[in-house]
Symmetry: C2
Subunit: 386 residues, 2 copies
């Protein structure tokens, strides 16, 4: 198994991007990643497009994307894993290199969601569960699943609505410092607590926005890294994955995501590392409760203590473990297919020390990305090292 | 790079399958593959679902499929590569094993297409090209692309409508001997030639049918093959891939598919083999002209001589290179996501000598699968050895 490194990353501006077609949005991040890596399209052996294809005619989103970005001859595959699609693309590109099939591969995550109405988007999440019982009979939308997780966590561990809101406050703070983020304004805890209820106990500021955006990650084999003379390769030390039923009644509890726990364990095992080794992380905060569950599922704190971790400010820069310093899904935005790649974009730049006023202090030069599909029916955890 | 073998295959009956949900259709082939491999779901490390998701609400087809077939905890990824989706799933599962991520993986190809109207299905193929110019302005549907290839081939090489029809005659003959095939009746060349025009020069019998079906392939590492004591592993000697623009004006010619030629070259190089070493092949005959181009692109004959190859009967059992002895896409059927896996299903059984009255004689114990995405914007060629 050949070692694989990130050698280039790029990201579009996230937001409502009516100004760009899907393929144009993809090109914004591909171009930046190519420049970052110092290579051109002809150096790439394989292009893996990650896109859920939320718009009804996007049966084959990889074709127009690869055509437009100059990778038509390199792109025979598109992957999808709901909200973890970007990570699935990185996983696929990584394996194509470590298996020896190619020596350089790009994972292009892209999604245009704002042309779809919000009902369709949230219904799509709900359809991942039991179609008949959860979605059709009970009308369980995507937000409803996470509202149930929040209620269970509050009941079992005493997690409060304020703690949920504090996650939003943190992530908006950092998004306001990140020019690529969707939301560019800080919020106060009072704003979060008095925002309108979406699905109790989740309020507007507990939910990530429907977002357009793209992010790209270029990976290379150890040999190629040497050959290209890459100055600052960011090594992939481990990629863990997990999966689970989409049907809630088949889960043992509702206060965490077993798929994410399995993914974290697998990633740490491959990386021969522990949660305490990580300097900075991005976790999947599609809803604020998801960030709190992620703290616990990855092992940054014990189960039930996620609310305390944010309340103490431990996930800010300067805290025990800085998390979602790019603004997270919550405030940077969550274009489904792009999110997993955008996490690697942020962490690569953090590990290179390129994040300016958002730069976290580095002790072990290790970072971790945690990306969840839907309401926990898939998950990827990736451990990086400078 | 660890060697990888096929250790189990399964296939549903192909056809109009209103009797089964997507996940039930998938289970038909998963169950057969598990029994064939002599393992259970718990032995599998990764499930890769290949499905285009032709129905408008199938944004995440892998979730209900993995849930139903008992692989909920193993399935964090779905892949898509238009009509080559099944091969993309095999490629992804293969790389996950050869990279060392898992030691057993399953590729599940599945599609339900009959609930979608035929206009939507053929338009989807057209959208793979230039949306504005080819699809929207000129109304180029999927059949229209292949009609253009046929016209170009006829003009340049003198290929005849009769030669196209002879491909259908052969594939119907073998489908009638294959209980899993959609069409169970032989046709005569007169039937083909007098069938109604779909898109000139292609007539009804030149086109594959809209099909429901699934096929599954279980792969294992060399070490696992030994550990399990697999009696008849079928080794993957090489997987080649290629890709190309979906926009016809960007192609150099219209008498073959560059993506398929690249894929074949890569596969033969990995396998250290040549076309003459192959005992039996499945090629992508979504339209009869596609089978003739495939003969040439893979190298079973020189460019322009594909029509002669079928006219001489060289692709029947007993001929120079028996092709599509399962009935092909043309008569066995073409459920997009399933097709690539169904090719490996057929070839594995041929190489094991399990095909009864459809069994081809084996000389070198090598087989080849050629699977194309759309009108040639992706392609996979896989070389197998007993």
């Amino acid at each position: 198994m050949s070692k694989v490194a990130v050698i280039g990353v790029g990201s579009s501006r996230f937001g409502r991007r009516d100004d760009a077609l899907l393929q144009e949005l993809a090109f914004e991040s591909v171009k930046e990643a190519l420049i970052d890596a110092g290579i051109t399209q002809k150096d790439i052996g394989l292009s893996v497009v990650g896109s859920v294809g939320t718009r009804e005619y996007e049966l084959q989103p990889a074709v127009p994307v690869n055509d437009y970005v100059g990778l038509a001859e390199k792109g025979p595959i598109r992957v999808e894993a709901a909200c973890a699609t970007g990570s699935a693309a990185v996983f696929t590109a990584h394996n194509a290199i470590s298996s020896g099939a190619v020596d350089i591969a790009i994972a292009i995550g892209v999604e245009k969601m704002n042309e779809v109405d919000v009902q369709t988007s949230t219904a799509a999440g709900g359809r991942g569960g039991s179609y008949l019982w959860e979605f059709h009979m009970l009308g369980t939308s995507f937000a409803a699943y996470y509202a149930m997780f929040a209620r269970a966590h509050m009941t079992k561990f005493g997690t409060t609505e304020e703690e949920l809101g504090l996650v939003a406050v943190k992530n908006h703070k950092y998004a306001a410092m990140n020019p690529k983020a969707f939301f560019q304004k800080e919020i106060r805890i009072e704003d979060a607590l008095k925002s309108r209820v979406v699905c109790s106990p989740l309020k507007l500021y507990d939910c990530c926005p429907i977002t357009d955006g793209s992010a790209s990650v270029i990976l290379a084999s150890e040999e190629k890294v040497r050959e290209l003379g890459v100055k600052d390769p960011i090594w992939i030390e481990g990629i863990g994955f997990g999966a689970d039923s989409g049907n809630l009644p088949r889960r043992d509890d509702y206060v965490g995501l077993p798929a994410a726990r399995s993914a974290a364990q697998m990633a740490f095992k491959h990386a021969k590392a522990e949660p305490k080794d990580i300097d900075v992380a991005t976790v999947h905060d599609c809803f604020t409760i998801a960030e709190i569950m992620a703290y616990e599922d990855v092992g940054f704190c014990a189960k039930g203590e996620g609310g305390k971790l944010i309340k103490e400010g431990q996930t800010y820069i300067g805290g025990k473990i800085p998390i979602n310093i790019d603004g997270g899904l919550k405030a940077k935005g969550h274009p489904l297919g792009a999110t997993g790649c955008a996490m690697i974009y942020e962490l690569t730049r953090q590990l290179r020390g390129q994040c300016g006023n958002r730069q976290v202090p580095l002790h072990n030069n290790m970072a971790l990305a945690h990306n969840v599909g839907g309401h926990g029916y898939s998950a990827y955890v990736t451990v990086l090292r400078a």
